[in-house]
Structures are given as C-alpha cells and as structure tokens.
C-alpha cells in the first residue's frame, strides 16, 4: 500500500511524460500512427487559418507552452504542481494550433531535456497534445456555451476544461501503461515494459491526477482566463464565436464583481469524494486482489475480461500469496460488518485508501521540498517565507534550463568522437540504438548497449560524473521508485524474502524492474549524448533528413530560439516579483499572481509573434518555406552511419 502510494505519487508528478522503455515498440508505433493524422490535419487547418503567420505564431506559442510547463503553482497543503498548459493553449488559439504547439514543446523537451522519451514521443503527444487539446476545447465550448467573454461562467468552463483535459491524458497514459504487462512479457510471464496491470496503473495514476496534478492545470487555466478577461478579452474571442458583442458586454460588465475560485480546498475535497467512485468504475481495486480471488471462478472471469481475455493462472501465484500476508487491510474484504451494502462498504474502503495516498503525497512533498530547499539555498537566495517558494522554484527551473543549454553548447564545441560526426549520422545512429534498447528482451544485451553508451561518452570526452548527475541518479530515483513495488507485486517464483517484514521478492518482479531501469537509464544516456555533442540547430536541421517537413523544422527552430527570450522574460518577472513581495499572500492570491504572470507572458508572446511575422515578411517571406540544406553525405559519414546501424541491429537481433 505504501509502496503503491509512492508509485502513484511519482507517476502523478513525473510520468505525464512517459520515458523510453516504459512502452513496447509496437505500442509506440501504434500511438505514432494514431497521432500522425491529427498532426497532419492540425498542420493543414492551421495553415488555412493562419496562412503566412503559421510559422511565427505556432513557433512562438510552442516556446510559450514550453516555458509555462516550467512554472510552479502553489497547491493546497503546501504542495506545488506543474501544468501542461494544454487548457490555456486550446482556449486561446483553438485545438488545432494547440495540438501543434504542445507537440512541438514536447518534442523540444524530449530531444533536448530528456523529459519524455523519443520512442514514446508519439504516445506523449497523443495523450497530452492531441487528446488533451481536443478534450479541453470541447469541454470549454460545452460549458461556456454562449456566455459573455467576461462572464464567470467562462472561468468555470476553463477550470473544468483544464481539469478534464489533464485527467483524460493521464487516463490514456495509465491505460497504455496497464496494457504492457498483459501484452508484452517473456514466456515465463516477466513483464518486459511497464510492469503494472490496468488495475494498478489506472488507480495509481488517476489518484495523483484527480487530486493534485489536475488541480494545477485547473487553477492555471482558470486563472489565465480570468486574467485575460480583465487585461485582454479579445484574446478569448477566437474560441468564443457565439459570445455577445464587446459593446454590450462592456456596458453590462462595468462594476460587477466576479466570483473567484476561492479555495482549491473545496475542489480537493470534491476530488476526494469522486476519486473512489472513479476507482469503483474501473472494477477491481488496484493491487488488492486477495489470494482467494484466483480460485474463485466468478472473480477469475472478471479478471480475465478486464485483462483482455488473458486467463489468469488457476492458482494464486506464490508471490501473491505472500503478498496477501504482507498487508492486512484495516477493513477486511471491503465490507465492514456494520455496513451490509457491499458498494457502500467498498466505497468507504476506497476512500480510506485514497486518503492514505493523499496523506502520503502531502508528506512526501514536504520531505521532498525540504530536500530541494536545502539544495536551493546554496544557489539561490534562501527564502524565509514558505509561501514564496513556488517563485523561487520556478525561477530555479527556468535557470536550470538556461544552464543546461549553455552547457550543452559548450560541450558541442569541444573535440571528441561524436562531436566530429555529422548530425544526421548521429540522429540516425543514436536513434537506432535507442530503438534497440526498447526492442531487446535480454538484460545482458541491454547492459552491453549501456556499455556502448559509456564508451561513446568516454570517446566524446563527456565525463561519466556528468552522466551520473544528469541521468543515472535522477532516473534511478524516479524510475526506481516506480520499479521497486514491481519486485513484490509481480507474481512468480520467490527469489528472496526481505528479513523481518518477510516481503517476498519474486524473480519475474526483479527482472521486470531491471528491464524498466535498464531501458530508462540507457535510453536517456544515449539521448543526452546526442544533445551534448550536437549543436541544436544542426540537430533540428537533421530532422529534414528523416522526412520531417521543412515547415515543421522551421517552426521547431523558431521555438527553440525564442524559448530563451521567453525564459529570460519570465525570469525577469520572477525577479521583480521577488523584489516586491513583502508579506505573505493568501494561496488563492498567489495562484492569481502566477496566472497573471502567465497571462502577461502570453500577451508578450503574441505581440512578439506579430513582430516576427512582420520581420519575416520584410525579408521576402510569403509563406513558402525555403531552407538552405547541405544534403551531401561524405564517405566517412556513410561509414559511421553504417557502423552505428550495424551495432544497433546486432544488439536487437541478439537480444530477441
């Protein structure tokens, strides 16, 4: 239970961006395939609406989305959260531009900052950018109807839109996770990718999102809409074609106070009540199958249908039997004696479960932020006021991005093996290696690829210490926390029993944890090598080689370039806030402040995109994309490319 709640917390906090190795190659391919028509349609529609403005507007808006994903928002209980920004994006510019902008922001995150995998990029886009935008937009239109631009109803609609968009995305991700152990396992049942079945992955993911992570998106979406209503209502007009005219609205709107979303606590309470209902809907409770379930025919049937007709073993796996000894539910069998109605009894049990997880989340956040703060103090001025910490945290994550890119720019200029390779060769070669990491089914081969990554790093004069600090330790911490419960939860032969508590570690559990860790570590190490040895402009231009349309490449280049401008603008806003904040603010006022900052940033972004559009026109841009490309490959390039591809192919073949 405790382990699961840790997992749920980590999933909610970090795994909206699914890393490499969590999903099987076929799942990734399917989700890429599912995303492609949406991208195509979005690009087409956007071009029709925006014409020559497509490149600057989508490019800059994607930079904006990237930057606001770094913003920290104060939430109830002293926790803070990040938003994806998909709610705002789809409300301000409509679902199609939003799909493109969020996808591009995600690509930049995956390629350059290791947030989310390369093989899982299709999945991440499908969940957050595509499903998120469409759901967010649909919900907003549905609830806002024909309300006035400045009405409170639109704020409420925006809040629901952001909340449902993010939860829908989380649900999709949970389903993708949960499908893995059913479909992809070795002959003895060891999960090869994400190890948890649907009945664990969905509750673990959803509890975190329904309660905390979703609130961040909710608060930011509603807050920015409220800010725009006051500061720049015209920006809300694009997705509100039926709203009454400006003049009428102004006349009526003069001095009416708007009800604010005062307390997120109320919403949290609501989520607390609703979450167990949601879990109830999923069917069986997560990971709380009792050993008896496996011999009960009716329950077996239920599990079988829930698992896509994958018939469970007739006898409870040994591991599970031990597992049931591991934890005695405080309310056995979900039906306290005094309540006869089984549904109500179940509901009570589930509420207790959710409560425990939320308590744990609060506790973990306290500990985590205490740890973070002890580190922050050395780099940034310490804050004596707890309530302003989100500003410092945001500033720190903005700074960290700036530092990372500056550092990468330096290492790309230093001599080394990979630095001397052509960008296209590296993109193809390292891409193939990452693919083989996802494909292999043997841990030894995985270790060998990891060894190759270390060798490549050594020849490129990238210190292993850096890899350890940037990749190995963080991945160990996060994927580790997700992998550890698998040691006990995956049924199978018992390998070892932890003394005292007598928790059984199963062999398949151990192996599946190794797979998850090994894949995540190796793939992110390879990804970091690519970024540290290739100038970003070459890397993006190299995408042309793989058939990415020149328009998309140009948008990407513009996004990356303007991220720095917006990062610096955001940092300046943080600095001035820090300088001006004197007393403590109410949490709701703080959220309003963050929303206002994002609103100002949005205004600046749109202004900037207009100016850039003019600057492009002034130099002869009429919407036709022309890039200066050097398509020649030298002999040495071909040689290096074939060497890398051979290694990747051999590894994949050996590791079948």
């Amino acid at each position: 239970m405790v382990l699961l709640s840790i997992t749920g917390w980590v999933l909610a906090r970090f795994v909206m961006h699914i890393p490499d190795g969590y999903l099987s190659p076929s799942t990734c391919a399917a989700l890429y395939a599912a995303a492609t028509p949406f991208w195509y349609a979005a690009l087409k529609r956007t071009r029709r609406i925006l014409n020559t403005r497509t490149v600057p507007l989508v490019g800059l808006f994607a930079s904006f989305c990237f930057v606001i994903m770094l913003f920290n928002l104060p939430l109830p209980g002293g926790t803070t959260g990040h938003a994806v920004g998909v709610g705002i994006a789809s409300i301000v510019l409509g679902p199609w531009v939003s799909i493109l902008a969020i996808s591009i922001a995600l690509l930049i995150q995956a390629l350059f900052f290791g947030d989310g995998g390369i093989t899982t990029f299709g999945a991440n886009c499908f969940n957050m950018a595509i499903a998120g935008s469409l759901v967010g937009y649909a919900v907003y239109r549905l609830f806002a109807r024909r309300a006035e631009i400045t009405s409170a109803r639109r704020v409420l609609a925006a809040a629901i839109a952001g909340y449902s968009a993010i939860n829908f995305a989380a649900f999709l991700a949970a389903v993708e996770f949960g499908m893995q152990p059913l479909l992809f396992h070795t002959s003895d049942g060891t999960p090869l990718y994400a190890p948890y079945p649907l009945n664990i992955s969905i509750p673990a993911m959803m509890i975190g999102h329904l309660t905390f992570a979703g609130l961040a998106e909710l608060a930011i979406t509603a807050g920015v809409v409220r800010y725009l209503q006051r500061a720049d209502p015209d920006l809300l007009r694009l997705t509100a074609p039926d709203a009454p005219d400006r003049e009428e609205t102004r006349a009526r709107d003069s001095a009416r106070p708007r009800p604010a979303l005062r307390s997120l606590w109320t919403l949290l309470a609501l989520a607390l009540i609703l979450t167990p209902l949601g879990i109830l809907a999923v069917g069986s409770a997560w990971g709380e199958w009792s050993a008896n379930d496996f011999s009960d025919a009716a329950v077996r049937n239920q599990i079988a249908t829930a698992s896509g007709n994958h018939v469970p073993p007739a006898h409870a796996p040994d591991g599970l039997k031990h597992l049931s000894l591991l934890w005695r539910p405080p309310v056995p069998d979900y039906a306290p004696a005094f309540i006869k109605n089984p549904y109500f009894g179940y509901f009570v049990s589930a509420s207790i479960g959710v409560g425990v997880i939320i308590l744990f989340t609060l506790l973990a956040t306290r500990l985590f932020s205490a740890f973070l703060n002890s580190r922050v103090k050395t780099s940034i001025r310490p804050s004596r006021r707890r309530s302003h910490r989100y500003i410092e945290r945001t500033a720190e994550s903005l700074l960290r991005v700036l530092q990372k890119t500056l550092f990468a720019e330096e290492t790309t200029r230093s001599p080394g093996l990979l630095q001397s390779c052509d960008a296209r060769v590296k993109l193809a070669g390292i891409g193939a290696l990452i693919l083989s990491v996802v494909f292999v089914h043997r841990i030894l081969i995985l270790a060998a690829i990891f060894g190759i990554a270390i060798l490549l790093a050594a020849f490129s004069r990238i210190s292993l210490l850096l890899l350890a600090r940037r990749i190995w330790i963080p991945v160990l911490a996060f994927t580790g926390v997700i992998a550890v419960p698998a040691l006990f939860l995956v049924p199978g032969k018992i390998l070892y029993q932890i003394p005292l508590v007598r928790w059984p570690v199963t062999l398949p559990g151990f192996e599946s944890a190794c797979f998850l860790m090994g894949r995540a570590e190796t793939a992110s190490s390879l990804g970091l090598l690519l970024v540290l040895t290739t100038p970003w402009n070459r890397l993006l231009r190299a995408l042309r080689f793989f058939g990415v349309s020149p328009r998309v490449v140009m948008i990407l280049e513009m996004t990356y370039r303007y991220i720095f401008l917006l990062l610096n603008t955001a940092l300046e806003m943080m600095e001035s806030r820090r300088a001006r904040l004197v007393g403590d603010l109410e949490p709701s006022a703080e959220r309003g402040l963050v929303a206002a900052m994002i609103g100002v940033l949005l205004d600046k972004t749109l202004q900037l995109s207009n100016d850039v559009h003019l600057a492009m026109q002034a130099r002869g841009f009429r919407g036709n994309i022309r890039l200066l490309e050097d398509l020649r490959m030298r002999k040495i390039d071909w040689l290096q490319l074939s060497a890398m591809l051979t290694i990747a192919w051999t590894a994949t073949w050996w590791g079948r």
Partner: protein, 270 residues
Amino acid sequence: MESNSETVFDLQNVSYSYENVAALHHVCLQIRRGERVALLGANGSGKSTLIRLMAALSFPTQGKISFFGTEITPSQLENPDFFYSFRRRVSIVFQNPEIQLFNPSVFDEVAFAPLQLGWPKSQIRDRVLEILSAMGIESLRDRPPHRLSGGEQKRVALASVLVLDPEVLLLDEPTAGLDPSSAAQMVALLSSWKGSSKTVIIATHDLDVLEEIADRCCVLDSGHFVADEKPLSLLHNIDLMRRTSLLRPHPHWHDKDYFVPHPHIHEREM
C-alpha cells in the same frame, strides 16, 4: 502628383492610427534617390510607425504612399512580382534585434532573405560569406543569434539585409542601446554610404552623430510633421528642438566645483 523617377517615396497626406489611437497625422514627405534622411522625434512621436509604413508592413489609414510612382497597397503587394521586387529593393532593420533575428544561426539569418527571393543556392552561399567577412563577423557564422552581444546582434541584423544590396535602407534606431565602441562602428558604417546611390532613412534621437549619418532631417512631434531641415540648421534651431523634446535643459556640472542648474545648449550638442 506626378512622381519623377528619382522620387523613392512619395507620402501624401498620410495618417495612421492603431485601433483608436492616432499615431500619424497628415504627413507629406518626398524622399529622393540617394538621400540620407534622419527621422527625428521623441519617443512615441511616430518615427517607427512611419518607417513601418514605408517598409509596407502596415498601410496608411488615410492618404497614400508611392514607391517610384507605384502606390503601395495591400492588393499591390499580393502581386508576387511587385512583392519580390519591392522586398529586394527596400530593406528594414528593426530596432529590436530579437525580432529581426529569428533564425537558428547567423549564417541562416543572413541567407534568409536571398532564399526567400529565390536566388540560386550556390550564389547564396558565396554572397553570404562575402557579406559576413565584409561586416567582420565571419567568426560568428555558426553561432545562434540569441547568444550574441547587443553590438554583434545589430551587425548581424544589418548584414541580413545588406546581403541583398538594397537600394533603400530603413533603419530604426540603429545606434540605440549600443556601447560607445559598437555605436562608433555603426556610425562609421552609416556614414560610409555618403555620396553613394543608396537611399537611407534612419529613425533616431541621437543628435551627436546627426551630421555624419544624415543630409536631411525630418522632425516628427506627436505624429505631426514639424520640420524638414539640414542637420546643421536643425541643430541651431534650439527652440524647435526643445519644443519637440529632442533637447531638454537640465542641471549639470561644468567644472569640478561648480554646479548650477541652467537651461542652455552646449557647443558639443550643437
């Protein structure tokens, strides 16, 4: 009015307003080929607006602008032939290099305009290298523009339009925000065009270098065209300069031990 072939821009009764705020009121102005014109005025006097109108990036709400006798209208610019020939001949450098430099590397930045105008690629490569070395920025060719210093950015911005060798250059505050040495380099470049056939229109409020960079000064005040003079005579027209906020009496030191607030004009400023 009949425009002769030597009139680059002919502005007749041009007004412009942003939404409800008027920025220019009935401006009339003719600019002839080879002239170096300084547009002077305080902040918000309409200089940048005027420059953007002449670059055909926005269009007058009233009145008309002609370029070598052809009126510039949105529909005229839809015509690809006119669009490309106009963009080829008229270039603008924005005040803020952040919006001018939107490409991933200095080389791409300078190559952008020729690429859009459809030059052959090998010719573009040669021409870009040529202009980079002429501007002394070859070493920056692979750098991303946003990592450059302010002075370097301005030079890259200028290189990115000079690569076309345009007949008409519109410069918005080319020396603003530069350190003294970068500013001096910029002024040297601007003054090197004296006597060439290039028409140069510079929006500025840097009076110190007026004589070096311009042959003619047009003064704007809150969107009104108020004066059209030679640099020297303008600099002596203290009354006008005060009225248009180009000059302000302010207390200042004359000697180490003597500080008097007094409203007067200094030799250097004249």
